[in-house]
Protein backbone atom coordinates (compact mmCIF):
# COMPACT_ATOMS: atom_id res chain seq x y z
CA UNK A 1 0.00 0.00 0.00
CA UNK A 2 2.83 2.37 0.85
CA UNK A 3 4.44 1.21 -2.34
CA UNK A 4 1.45 2.51 -4.27
CA UNK A 5 1.81 5.95 -2.73
CA UNK A 6 5.55 6.05 -3.33
CA UNK A 7 4.88 5.12 -6.93
CA UNK A 8 2.41 7.94 -7.40
CA UNK A 9 4.62 10.59 -5.83
CA UNK A 10 7.63 9.32 -7.73
CA UNK A 11 5.65 9.30 -10.96
CA UNK A 12 5.05 13.05 -10.73
CA UNK A 13 8.67 13.61 -9.86
CA UNK A 14 10.00 11.49 -12.68
CA UNK A 15 7.74 13.21 -15.22
CA UNK A 16 9.05 16.59 -14.14
CA UNK A 17 12.62 15.34 -14.21
CA UNK A 18 12.16 13.83 -17.63
CA UNK A 19 11.06 17.14 -19.13
CA UNK A 20 12.86 19.81 -17.17
CA UNK A 21 15.83 17.86 -15.83
CA UNK A 22 15.48 19.39 -12.41
CA UNK A 23 15.24 17.48 -9.17
CA UNK A 24 12.19 19.15 -7.69
CA UNK A 25 12.99 18.97 -3.99
CA UNK A 26 9.77 20.78 -3.20
CA UNK A 27 7.62 17.97 -4.57
CA UNK A 28 6.85 16.51 -1.14
CA UNK A 29 5.69 19.87 0.04
CA UNK A 30 3.17 20.06 -2.73
CA UNK A 31 2.04 16.61 -1.60
CA UNK A 32 1.56 18.09 1.87
CA UNK A 33 -0.37 21.05 0.47
CA UNK A 34 -2.57 18.62 -1.42
CA UNK A 35 -3.46 16.84 1.80
CA UNK A 36 -4.15 20.13 3.55
CA UNK A 37 -6.31 21.43 0.72
CA UNK A 38 -8.58 18.44 0.73
CA UNK A 39 -8.65 18.37 4.53
CA UNK A 40 -9.67 22.02 4.50
CA UNK A 41 -12.47 21.31 2.03
CA UNK A 42 -13.76 18.27 3.88
CA UNK A 43 -13.69 19.86 7.33
CA UNK A 44 -14.85 23.40 6.54
CA UNK A 45 -17.23 22.86 3.62
CA UNK A 46 -18.19 19.25 4.24
CA UNK A 47 -17.52 18.44 0.63
CA UNK A 48 -17.62 14.87 -0.47
CA UNK A 49 -14.29 13.04 -0.21
CA UNK A 50 -14.07 12.40 -3.92
CA UNK A 51 -15.05 15.94 -4.85
CA UNK A 52 -12.36 17.33 -2.59
CA UNK A 53 -9.85 14.89 -4.02
CA UNK A 54 -10.67 16.25 -7.45
CA UNK A 55 -10.59 19.90 -6.35
CA UNK A 56 -7.28 19.41 -4.52
CA UNK A 57 -5.76 17.90 -7.65
CA UNK A 58 -6.96 20.77 -9.81
CA UNK A 59 -5.85 23.46 -7.35
CA UNK A 60 -2.43 21.92 -6.86
CA UNK A 61 -2.09 21.33 -10.58
CA UNK A 62 -2.65 25.04 -11.18
CA UNK A 63 -0.24 25.88 -8.37
CA UNK A 64 2.32 23.63 -10.06
CA UNK A 65 1.88 25.53 -13.31
CA UNK A 66 2.36 28.79 -11.44
CA UNK A 67 5.51 27.56 -9.71
CA UNK A 68 6.97 26.40 -13.00
CA UNK A 69 6.32 29.79 -14.59
CA UNK A 70 7.58 31.91 -11.69
CA UNK A 71 10.50 29.91 -10.37
CA UNK A 72 11.76 27.33 -12.80
CA UNK A 73 11.22 28.96 -16.16
CA UNK A 74 13.63 31.87 -15.56
CA UNK A 75 16.23 29.27 -14.61
CA UNK A 76 15.86 26.92 -17.53
CA UNK A 77 19.05 28.01 -19.23
CA UNK A 78 21.03 28.53 -16.02
CA UNK A 79 23.34 25.85 -14.58
CA UNK A 80 21.53 22.95 -12.92
CA UNK A 81 22.85 23.83 -9.50
CA UNK A 82 20.71 26.94 -9.56
CA UNK A 83 17.47 25.09 -10.06
CA UNK A 84 18.22 22.76 -7.15
CA UNK A 85 18.80 25.71 -4.95
CA UNK A 86 15.64 27.39 -6.14
CA UNK A 87 13.84 24.14 -5.30
CA UNK A 88 15.29 24.21 -1.79
CA UNK A 89 14.15 27.81 -1.44
CA UNK A 90 10.68 26.78 -2.56
CA UNK A 91 10.70 23.92 -0.06
CA UNK A 92 11.53 26.21 2.85
CA UNK A 93 8.95 28.70 1.64
CA UNK A 94 6.12 26.19 1.30
CA UNK A 95 6.88 24.52 4.60
CA UNK A 96 6.87 27.72 6.62
CA UNK A 97 3.83 29.03 4.75
CA UNK A 98 1.88 25.95 5.78
CA UNK A 99 3.13 26.37 9.36
CA UNK A 100 1.73 29.89 9.40
CA UNK A 101 -1.51 28.85 7.71
CA UNK A 102 -2.37 25.64 9.48
CA UNK A 103 -0.14 25.56 12.54
CA UNK A 104 2.19 22.77 13.59
CA UNK A 105 -0.54 20.49 14.94
CA UNK A 106 -1.10 17.00 13.70
CA UNK A 107 -4.61 16.72 12.26
CA UNK A 108 -6.80 13.74 11.66
CA UNK A 109 -8.49 13.38 8.36
CA UNK A 110 -12.06 12.21 8.94
CA UNK A 111 -12.21 8.82 7.30
CA UNK A 112 -15.32 7.48 5.66
CA UNK A 113 -14.09 4.06 4.82
CA UNK A 114 -12.51 2.60 7.92
CA UNK A 115 -14.60 -0.55 8.16
CA UNK A 116 -12.45 -3.64 7.80
CA UNK A 117 -13.42 -6.03 5.07
CA UNK A 118 -12.21 -9.53 4.37
CA UNK A 119 -10.67 -10.21 1.07
CA UNK A 120 -9.02 -13.47 0.11
CA UNK A 121 -8.50 -14.26 3.78
CA UNK A 122 -6.86 -10.93 4.63
CA UNK A 123 -8.53 -8.28 6.79
CA UNK A 124 -7.98 -4.84 5.33
CA UNK A 125 -9.76 -1.52 5.79
CA UNK A 126 -11.58 -0.20 2.77
CA UNK A 127 -9.47 2.96 2.73
CA UNK A 128 -6.30 0.93 2.32
CA UNK A 129 -7.85 -0.90 -0.57
CA UNK A 130 -8.87 2.44 -2.05
CA UNK A 131 -5.29 3.66 -1.91
CA UNK A 132 -4.11 0.69 -3.92
CA UNK A 133 -6.94 0.82 -6.44
CA UNK A 134 -6.78 4.60 -6.73
CA UNK A 135 -3.03 4.58 -7.30
CA UNK A 136 -3.33 1.85 -9.91
CA UNK A 137 -6.05 3.85 -11.64
CA UNK A 138 -3.93 7.00 -11.74
CA UNK A 139 -0.97 5.06 -13.09
CA UNK A 140 -3.06 3.52 -15.86
CA UNK A 141 -4.68 6.85 -16.73
CA UNK A 142 -1.32 8.54 -16.97
CA UNK A 143 0.04 5.80 -19.16
CA UNK A 144 -2.97 6.06 -21.48
CA UNK A 145 -2.68 9.83 -21.53
CA UNK A 146 0.95 9.77 -22.52
CA UNK A 147 0.82 6.93 -24.99
CA UNK A 148 -2.59 7.46 -26.58
CA UNK A 149 -3.33 11.16 -26.69
CA UNK A 150 -1.87 13.92 -28.74
CA UNK A 151 -1.01 16.08 -25.74
CA UNK A 152 0.71 13.19 -24.02
CA UNK A 153 2.78 12.56 -27.11
CA UNK A 154 4.14 16.11 -26.95
CA UNK A 155 5.36 15.43 -23.41
CA UNK A 156 7.19 12.34 -24.53
CA UNK A 157 8.64 14.17 -27.52
CA UNK A 158 10.08 16.94 -25.37
CA UNK A 159 11.51 14.42 -22.95
CA UNK A 160 13.27 12.59 -25.75
CA UNK A 161 14.62 15.53 -27.66
CA UNK A 162 13.75 19.12 -26.80
CA UNK A 163 15.31 20.68 -29.89
CA UNK A 164 13.65 18.21 -32.20
CA UNK A 165 10.31 18.80 -30.53
CA UNK A 166 10.69 22.52 -30.96
CA UNK A 167 11.50 22.04 -34.61
CA UNK A 168 8.23 20.27 -35.29
CA UNK A 169 6.34 23.07 -33.60
CA UNK A 170 5.88 21.96 -30.00
CA UNK A 171 6.01 24.81 -27.51
CA UNK A 172 8.40 23.77 -24.76
CA UNK A 173 6.99 26.38 -22.42
CA UNK A 174 3.52 24.98 -22.67
CA UNK A 175 4.66 21.38 -22.31
CA UNK A 176 6.70 22.10 -19.21
CA UNK A 177 3.78 23.94 -17.62
CA UNK A 178 1.53 21.01 -18.43
CA UNK A 179 3.99 18.48 -17.04
CA UNK A 180 4.46 20.43 -13.87
CA UNK A 181 0.71 20.66 -13.46
CA UNK A 182 0.20 16.93 -13.95
CA UNK A 183 3.08 15.99 -11.70
CA UNK A 184 1.84 18.19 -8.89
CA UNK A 185 -1.75 17.03 -9.30
CA UNK A 186 -0.56 13.42 -8.95
CA UNK A 187 1.18 14.29 -5.70
CA UNK A 188 -2.00 15.93 -4.40
CA UNK A 189 -4.00 12.86 -5.39
CA UNK A 190 -1.60 10.54 -3.59
CA UNK A 191 -1.70 12.73 -0.50
CA UNK A 192 -5.49 12.79 -0.36
CA UNK A 193 -5.69 9.05 -0.81
CA UNK A 194 -3.30 8.33 2.04
CA UNK A 195 -4.35 11.18 4.37
CA UNK A 196 -7.20 9.31 6.13
CA UNK A 197 -4.74 6.58 7.18
CA UNK A 198 -1.92 8.79 8.39
CA UNK A 199 -2.05 12.21 10.00
CA UNK A 200 -1.82 15.54 8.22
CA UNK A 201 0.92 17.97 9.35
CA UNK A 202 3.30 20.49 7.78
CA UNK A 203 6.35 18.24 7.58
CA UNK A 204 4.43 15.19 6.35
CA UNK A 205 5.88 15.71 2.88
CA UNK A 206 9.54 15.36 3.80
CA UNK A 207 9.74 11.56 3.99
CA UNK A 208 7.60 10.70 0.93
CA UNK A 209 9.58 13.30 -0.98
CA UNK A 210 12.93 11.76 -0.15
CA UNK A 211 11.61 8.29 -0.72
CA UNK A 212 10.27 9.37 -4.08
CA UNK A 213 13.79 10.42 -4.93
CA UNK A 214 15.05 7.04 -3.83
CA UNK A 215 12.42 5.49 -6.06
CA UNK A 216 13.34 7.42 -9.15
CA UNK A 217 17.01 6.71 -8.64
CA UNK A 218 16.27 3.00 -8.26
CA UNK A 219 13.96 3.06 -11.25
CA UNK A 220 16.05 5.38 -13.39
CA UNK A 221 15.40 9.11 -13.63
CA UNK A 222 12.73 10.12 -16.08
CA UNK A 223 11.45 6.57 -16.57
CA UNK A 224 7.75 5.95 -15.90
CA UNK A 225 7.82 2.14 -15.56
CA UNK A 226 10.92 2.61 -13.43
CA UNK A 227 9.02 4.85 -11.04
CA UNK A 228 6.12 2.40 -10.69
CA UNK A 229 8.32 -0.64 -10.18
CA UNK A 230 10.73 1.26 -7.95
CA UNK A 231 7.86 2.46 -5.78
CA UNK A 232 6.52 -1.00 -5.16
CA UNK A 233 10.01 -2.35 -4.60
CA UNK A 234 10.69 0.29 -1.99
CA UNK A 235 7.39 -0.46 -0.26
CA UNK A 236 8.36 -4.14 -0.12
CA UNK A 237 11.90 -3.46 1.07
CA UNK A 238 10.55 -1.35 3.91
CA UNK A 239 7.81 -3.76 4.89
CA UNK A 240 10.10 -6.77 4.86
CA UNK A 241 13.01 -4.97 6.51
CA UNK A 242 10.71 -3.50 9.12
CA UNK A 243 9.03 -6.82 9.76
CA UNK A 244 12.03 -9.12 9.85
CA UNK A 245 14.97 -6.99 10.95
CA UNK A 246 14.01 -3.95 12.99
CA UNK A 247 11.15 -1.43 12.91
CA UNK A 248 13.38 1.17 14.51
CA UNK A 249 15.50 1.36 11.43
CA UNK A 250 12.65 0.96 8.92
CA UNK A 251 13.40 4.21 7.13
CA UNK A 252 17.04 3.29 6.96
CA UNK A 253 16.41 0.40 4.57
CA UNK A 254 15.10 2.74 1.91
CA UNK A 255 18.18 4.90 1.98
CA UNK A 256 20.44 1.91 2.33
CA UNK A 257 18.87 0.53 -0.83
CA UNK A 258 19.61 3.80 -2.53
CA UNK A 259 23.27 3.77 -1.58
CA UNK A 260 23.56 0.18 -2.80
CA UNK A 261 21.97 1.14 -6.09
CA UNK A 262 24.20 4.16 -6.52
CA UNK A 263 27.24 1.96 -6.03
CA UNK A 264 26.18 -0.90 -8.27
CA UNK A 265 24.08 0.71 -10.95
CA UNK A 266 24.02 4.50 -10.81
CA UNK A 267 21.61 4.83 -13.72
CA UNK A 268 18.88 2.74 -12.12
CA UNK A 269 16.89 -0.16 -13.48
CA UNK A 270 15.51 1.57 -16.55
CA UNK A 271 18.03 4.38 -16.84
CA UNK A 272 19.52 5.44 -20.10
CA UNK A 273 23.25 5.15 -20.65
CA UNK A 274 24.23 8.68 -19.68
CA UNK A 275 25.40 9.15 -16.11
Amino acid sequence: MLGAVYSLVALGLTLIYGILHIPNFAHGHKYMWGAFTSLFLVVNFHTNYWVSLFIAMVVLGLAGVGVERLVYRPLRNAPHVNSFIAAIGLLLFLESLSLIFWGADFRRFPSLYDKPIHLLGVAITLQRLLVIVGAALFIILLQVFIKRTWLGATIEAVAQNPEGAQLVGISIDRVSSLTFGIGTALAAGAATLIAPIFLVYPTMGAMPNLKAFVVIIIGGMGSIPGAVLGGFMLGLIEALGGGYISTDYKDLFAFGALVTFLTLRPTGLFGKGVR
Binding site: P23, L75, V81, L91, L210, R275
Partner: protein, 323 residues
Protein backbone atom coordinates in the same frame (compact mmCIF):
# COMPACT_ATOMS: atom_id res chain seq x y z
CA UNK B 1 41.42 47.42 -6.39
CA UNK B 2 45.17 47.30 -6.51
CA UNK B 3 47.33 45.11 -4.36
CA UNK B 4 48.27 47.65 -1.71
CA UNK B 5 44.73 48.76 -1.02
CA UNK B 6 43.68 45.15 -0.78
CA UNK B 7 46.42 44.30 1.68
CA UNK B 8 45.56 47.25 3.91
CA UNK B 9 41.88 46.40 3.77
CA UNK B 10 42.54 42.84 4.88
CA UNK B 11 44.80 44.03 7.69
CA UNK B 12 42.15 46.53 8.79
CA UNK B 13 39.45 43.86 8.92
CA UNK B 14 41.78 41.56 10.84
CA UNK B 15 42.59 44.33 13.29
CA UNK B 16 38.89 45.05 13.86
CA UNK B 17 38.18 41.33 14.30
CA UNK B 18 40.92 41.04 16.94
CA UNK B 19 39.85 44.18 18.79
CA UNK B 20 36.13 43.38 18.93
CA UNK B 21 36.12 41.59 22.33
CA UNK B 22 37.80 44.62 23.91
CA UNK B 23 35.01 46.90 22.72
CA UNK B 24 31.95 44.67 22.73
CA UNK B 25 31.23 43.35 26.19
CA UNK B 26 27.61 42.42 25.61
CA UNK B 27 27.39 38.63 25.87
CA UNK B 28 24.52 38.45 23.42
CA UNK B 29 26.46 40.12 20.61
CA UNK B 30 29.53 38.05 21.39
CA UNK B 31 27.41 34.93 21.09
CA UNK B 32 26.19 35.99 17.65
CA UNK B 33 29.75 36.70 16.55
CA UNK B 34 31.00 33.34 17.76
CA UNK B 35 28.18 31.55 15.99
CA UNK B 36 28.89 33.42 12.77
CA UNK B 37 32.52 32.39 13.06
CA UNK B 38 31.63 28.73 13.46
CA UNK B 39 29.15 28.77 10.60
CA UNK B 40 31.62 30.64 8.41
CA UNK B 41 34.03 27.71 8.77
CA UNK B 42 31.25 25.34 7.69
CA UNK B 43 30.20 27.55 4.78
CA UNK B 44 33.80 27.95 3.61
CA UNK B 45 34.35 24.22 3.66
CA UNK B 46 31.17 23.65 1.66
CA UNK B 47 32.36 26.23 -0.81
CA UNK B 48 35.42 24.12 -1.62
CA UNK B 49 33.35 21.24 -2.99
CA UNK B 50 30.38 23.30 -4.19
CA UNK B 51 31.98 26.47 -5.45
CA UNK B 52 35.39 25.32 -6.59
CA UNK B 53 34.79 21.70 -7.61
CA UNK B 54 31.19 22.14 -8.77
CA UNK B 55 29.60 19.22 -6.88
CA UNK B 56 26.38 19.98 -5.01
CA UNK B 57 26.96 18.30 -1.67
CA UNK B 58 23.77 18.20 0.40
CA UNK B 59 25.27 16.15 3.23
CA UNK B 60 27.30 18.89 4.81
CA UNK B 61 25.13 18.90 7.91
CA UNK B 62 25.95 15.23 8.39
CA UNK B 63 29.69 15.85 8.35
CA UNK B 64 29.27 18.80 10.68
CA UNK B 65 27.29 16.51 12.97
CA UNK B 66 29.78 13.66 12.70
CA UNK B 67 32.58 16.00 13.74
CA UNK B 68 30.52 17.39 16.61
CA UNK B 69 29.33 14.01 17.89
CA UNK B 70 32.73 12.35 17.47
CA UNK B 71 34.48 15.02 19.51
CA UNK B 72 31.75 15.12 22.15
CA UNK B 73 31.84 11.34 22.59
CA UNK B 74 35.62 11.27 22.77
CA UNK B 75 35.64 14.02 25.38
CA UNK B 76 32.77 12.61 27.43
CA UNK B 77 33.38 8.87 27.26
CA UNK B 78 37.14 8.67 26.79
CA UNK B 79 37.98 11.81 28.80
CA UNK B 80 40.07 13.02 25.92
CA UNK B 81 41.32 16.59 25.93
CA UNK B 82 39.73 19.06 23.52
CA UNK B 83 42.98 19.60 21.71
CA UNK B 84 43.34 15.90 20.88
CA UNK B 85 39.68 15.43 20.13
CA UNK B 86 39.55 18.29 17.66
CA UNK B 87 41.92 16.97 14.98
CA UNK B 88 40.78 13.40 15.56
CA UNK B 89 37.10 14.24 15.18
CA UNK B 90 37.76 16.34 12.11
CA UNK B 91 39.77 13.46 10.66
CA UNK B 92 36.85 11.12 11.37
CA UNK B 93 34.52 13.49 9.51
CA UNK B 94 37.01 13.58 6.65
CA UNK B 95 37.27 9.80 6.65
CA UNK B 96 33.49 9.47 6.42
CA UNK B 97 33.60 11.95 3.58
CA UNK B 98 36.13 9.73 1.84
CA UNK B 99 33.99 6.61 2.37
CA UNK B 100 30.82 8.31 1.10
CA UNK B 101 32.68 9.98 -1.70
CA UNK B 102 33.76 6.62 -3.12
CA UNK B 103 30.26 5.59 -4.25
CA UNK B 104 28.58 9.00 -4.38
CA UNK B 105 31.17 10.81 -6.49
CA UNK B 106 30.83 8.23 -9.23
CA UNK B 107 27.57 9.95 -10.02
CA UNK B 108 27.09 13.47 -11.24
CA UNK B 109 24.82 16.46 -10.97
CA UNK B 110 21.42 15.76 -9.51
CA UNK B 111 22.26 12.14 -8.70
CA UNK B 112 25.10 13.28 -6.50
CA UNK B 113 22.91 15.87 -4.80
CA UNK B 114 20.19 13.34 -4.05
CA UNK B 115 22.66 10.65 -3.01
CA UNK B 116 24.33 12.94 -0.49
CA UNK B 117 20.97 14.17 0.77
CA UNK B 118 19.95 10.57 1.45
CA UNK B 119 23.26 9.90 3.18
CA UNK B 120 22.54 12.86 5.43
CA UNK B 121 19.22 11.32 6.40
CA UNK B 122 20.86 8.00 7.15
CA UNK B 123 23.27 9.73 9.52
CA UNK B 124 20.49 11.63 11.29
CA UNK B 125 18.45 8.46 11.66
CA UNK B 126 21.36 6.53 13.13
CA UNK B 127 22.23 9.32 15.55
CA UNK B 128 18.58 9.52 16.56
CA UNK B 129 18.06 5.78 17.05
CA UNK B 130 21.40 4.52 18.40
CA UNK B 131 20.60 5.48 21.96
CA UNK B 132 23.39 3.42 23.51
CA UNK B 133 26.02 5.62 21.92
CA UNK B 134 24.46 8.99 21.19
CA UNK B 135 21.67 9.20 23.79
CA UNK B 136 19.24 9.52 20.87
CA UNK B 137 16.71 12.33 20.95
CA UNK B 138 17.66 13.35 24.50
CA UNK B 139 20.96 14.60 23.18
CA UNK B 140 24.44 14.74 24.64
CA UNK B 141 24.83 17.11 27.56
CA UNK B 142 27.73 18.63 29.46
CA UNK B 143 30.32 18.58 26.71
CA UNK B 144 33.44 20.18 28.17
CA UNK B 145 34.94 23.29 26.63
CA UNK B 146 38.55 23.57 25.51
CA UNK B 147 40.89 22.43 28.25
CA UNK B 148 43.52 24.86 29.58
CA UNK B 149 46.96 24.81 28.00
CA UNK B 150 49.87 25.00 30.46
CA UNK B 151 52.24 27.78 29.53
CA UNK B 152 56.00 27.16 29.53
CA UNK B 153 56.66 30.06 31.94
CA UNK B 154 54.22 28.80 34.54
CA UNK B 155 50.49 29.29 34.85
CA UNK B 156 48.09 28.19 32.18
CA UNK B 157 45.96 29.55 29.39
CA UNK B 158 42.28 29.01 30.16
CA UNK B 159 39.35 29.44 27.84
CA UNK B 160 36.49 30.21 30.18
CA UNK B 161 35.48 33.70 29.07
CA UNK B 162 33.44 34.62 26.01
CA UNK B 163 36.39 36.56 24.63
CA UNK B 164 38.60 33.47 24.82
CA UNK B 165 35.97 31.40 23.03
CA UNK B 166 35.80 34.12 20.41
CA UNK B 167 39.55 34.05 19.87
CA UNK B 168 39.54 30.27 19.50
CA UNK B 169 36.85 30.44 16.83
CA UNK B 170 38.55 33.37 15.13
CA UNK B 171 41.85 31.48 15.16
CA UNK B 172 40.33 28.42 13.53
CA UNK B 173 38.45 30.57 11.05
CA UNK B 174 41.70 32.24 9.99
CA UNK B 175 43.41 28.86 9.81
CA UNK B 176 40.59 27.55 7.61
CA UNK B 177 40.76 30.58 5.33
CA UNK B 178 44.54 30.28 5.09
CA UNK B 179 44.56 26.56 4.31
CA UNK B 180 41.68 26.71 1.83
CA UNK B 181 43.24 29.71 0.12
CA UNK B 182 46.54 27.89 -0.25
CA UNK B 183 44.76 24.85 -1.64
CA UNK B 184 42.72 26.85 -4.14
CA UNK B 185 45.75 28.79 -5.34
CA UNK B 186 47.83 25.63 -5.73
CA UNK B 187 47.97 23.28 -8.67
CA UNK B 188 45.57 20.94 -6.89
CA UNK B 189 43.11 23.81 -6.56
CA UNK B 190 43.42 24.45 -10.27
CA UNK B 191 42.49 20.84 -10.98
CA UNK B 192 39.39 21.26 -8.77
CA UNK B 193 38.35 24.23 -10.84
CA UNK B 194 39.07 22.40 -14.06
CA UNK B 195 36.59 19.73 -12.99
CA UNK B 196 34.03 22.37 -12.17
CA UNK B 197 34.47 23.81 -15.65
CA UNK B 198 34.25 20.60 -17.64
CA UNK B 199 34.87 17.15 -16.28
CA UNK B 200 35.47 15.43 -19.64
CA UNK B 201 37.90 18.09 -20.73
CA UNK B 202 39.73 17.88 -17.40
CA UNK B 203 40.12 14.13 -17.84
CA UNK B 204 41.31 14.63 -21.39
CA UNK B 205 44.22 16.78 -20.21
CA UNK B 206 45.25 14.09 -17.75
CA UNK B 207 43.46 14.96 -14.50
CA UNK B 208 42.26 11.93 -12.58
CA UNK B 209 38.73 13.26 -12.02
CA UNK B 210 37.61 10.72 -9.45
CA UNK B 211 40.72 11.06 -7.28
CA UNK B 212 40.58 14.84 -7.46
CA UNK B 213 36.91 14.98 -6.53
CA UNK B 214 37.44 12.65 -3.58
CA UNK B 215 40.34 14.75 -2.38
CA UNK B 216 38.26 17.92 -2.52
CA UNK B 217 35.33 16.21 -0.82
CA UNK B 218 37.49 14.81 1.97
CA UNK B 219 39.12 18.16 2.70
CA UNK B 220 35.75 19.85 2.66
CA UNK B 221 34.32 17.30 5.12
CA UNK B 222 37.37 17.65 7.35
CA UNK B 223 36.73 21.36 7.81
CA UNK B 224 33.01 20.80 8.28
CA UNK B 225 34.10 18.49 11.11
CA UNK B 226 36.26 21.26 12.59
CA UNK B 227 33.19 23.50 12.61
CA UNK B 228 31.23 20.74 14.32
CA UNK B 229 33.83 20.29 17.08
CA UNK B 230 33.92 24.02 17.79
CA UNK B 231 30.15 24.10 17.95
CA UNK B 232 29.97 21.13 20.30
CA UNK B 233 32.48 22.53 22.77
CA UNK B 234 31.04 26.04 22.64
CA UNK B 235 27.37 25.14 23.12
CA UNK B 236 28.02 22.08 25.29
CA UNK B 237 24.90 20.28 24.08
CA UNK B 238 24.19 18.21 20.97
CA UNK B 239 20.98 16.77 19.60
CA UNK B 240 20.24 14.80 16.43
CA UNK B 241 18.77 17.92 14.79
CA UNK B 242 22.31 19.19 14.39
CA UNK B 243 23.06 16.50 11.86
CA UNK B 244 19.83 17.20 10.02
CA UNK B 245 19.69 18.15 6.36
CA UNK B 246 18.40 21.56 7.41
CA UNK B 247 21.96 22.27 8.52
CA UNK B 248 23.12 21.36 5.02
CA UNK B 249 20.50 23.65 3.52
CA UNK B 250 21.46 26.49 5.83
CA UNK B 251 25.12 26.30 4.91
CA UNK B 252 24.13 26.08 1.25
CA UNK B 253 22.12 29.29 1.67
CA UNK B 254 25.07 31.08 3.27
CA UNK B 255 27.35 30.10 0.41
CA UNK B 256 24.92 30.89 -2.37
CA UNK B 257 23.80 34.25 -1.01
CA UNK B 258 27.31 35.39 -0.18
CA UNK B 259 28.83 34.34 -3.45
CA UNK B 260 29.66 30.83 -4.57
CA UNK B 261 33.22 30.19 -5.66
CA UNK B 262 34.69 33.21 -3.88
CA UNK B 263 36.72 33.35 -0.70
CA UNK B 264 34.87 36.22 1.03
CA UNK B 265 31.39 35.26 -0.18
CA UNK B 266 30.58 32.50 2.31
CA UNK B 267 31.76 34.65 5.23
CA UNK B 268 29.64 37.59 4.15
CA UNK B 269 26.65 35.33 3.57
CA UNK B 270 27.03 33.77 7.01
CA UNK B 271 27.46 37.09 8.79
CA UNK B 272 24.39 38.44 7.04
CA UNK B 273 22.18 35.45 7.70
CA UNK B 274 23.25 34.84 11.28
CA UNK B 275 23.10 38.46 12.41
CA UNK B 276 20.15 39.88 10.45
CA UNK B 277 17.33 37.72 11.85
CA UNK B 278 18.73 38.14 15.35
CA UNK B 279 18.85 41.90 15.14
CA UNK B 280 15.53 42.29 13.35
CA UNK B 281 13.81 39.96 15.84
CA UNK B 282 11.84 38.12 13.21
CA UNK B 283 9.72 35.23 14.41
CA UNK B 284 11.14 31.84 13.49
CA UNK B 285 8.39 30.79 11.11
CA UNK B 286 8.55 34.02 9.12
CA UNK B 287 12.30 33.72 9.01
CA UNK B 288 12.19 30.51 7.00
CA UNK B 289 9.51 31.99 4.77
CA UNK B 290 11.79 34.91 4.10
CA UNK B 291 14.84 32.68 3.60
CA UNK B 292 12.97 30.69 1.00
CA UNK B 293 11.82 33.79 -0.84
CA UNK B 294 15.23 35.46 -0.73
CA UNK B 295 16.87 32.28 -1.95
CA UNK B 296 14.53 31.96 -4.93
CA UNK B 297 14.77 35.63 -5.90
CA UNK B 298 18.55 35.67 -5.50
CA UNK B 299 19.10 32.57 -7.56
CA UNK B 300 17.00 33.98 -10.40
CA UNK B 301 18.39 37.50 -10.43
CA UNK B 302 21.81 37.32 -8.73
CA UNK B 303 22.98 33.74 -9.29
CA UNK B 304 26.55 34.53 -8.28
CA UNK B 305 25.62 35.95 -4.89
CA UNK B 306 26.45 39.31 -3.36
CA UNK B 307 30.19 39.09 -3.92
CA UNK B 308 29.86 37.82 -7.48
CA UNK B 309 27.46 40.65 -8.22
CA UNK B 310 29.81 43.29 -6.83
CA UNK B 311 32.72 41.82 -8.76
CA UNK B 312 30.62 42.06 -11.91
CA UNK B 313 29.83 45.70 -11.18
CA UNK B 314 33.49 46.52 -10.63
CA UNK B 315 34.56 44.68 -13.74
CA UNK B 316 32.09 46.72 -15.77
CA UNK B 317 33.37 49.97 -14.30
CA UNK B 318 36.95 49.08 -15.12
CA UNK B 319 35.99 48.34 -18.68
CA UNK B 320 34.34 51.75 -18.99
CA UNK B 321 37.41 53.49 -17.61
CA UNK B 322 39.83 51.83 -19.99
CA UNK B 323 38.04 51.06 -23.22
Amino acid sequence: MNRMVRKWLILMILFIAVMIPLVVTNKYYMNILIMSGIWSIVALSLNLILGYTGQVNLAHGAFFGIGAYASALMMLKLNMSFWFALPLAAAIAGFFGFLIGLPALRTRGSYFAIGTLCFNIIVTLIVDRWEGLTEGARGLMGIPGPSPIPLPWGGELTFKTMAAQYYIVLGFLLLTIFVLRRIIRSLVGRTFQAIRGNEELAEAVGIHAMRTKILSFTISCFFAGVGGVLYASYIGFLSPELTDYHVSFDSLIYVMIGGVGTMVGPIIGTLLFVTLPETLHIAAEFRLLLYGLILMVMIIYLPRGIVGWMKGLMGRKRKQEAP
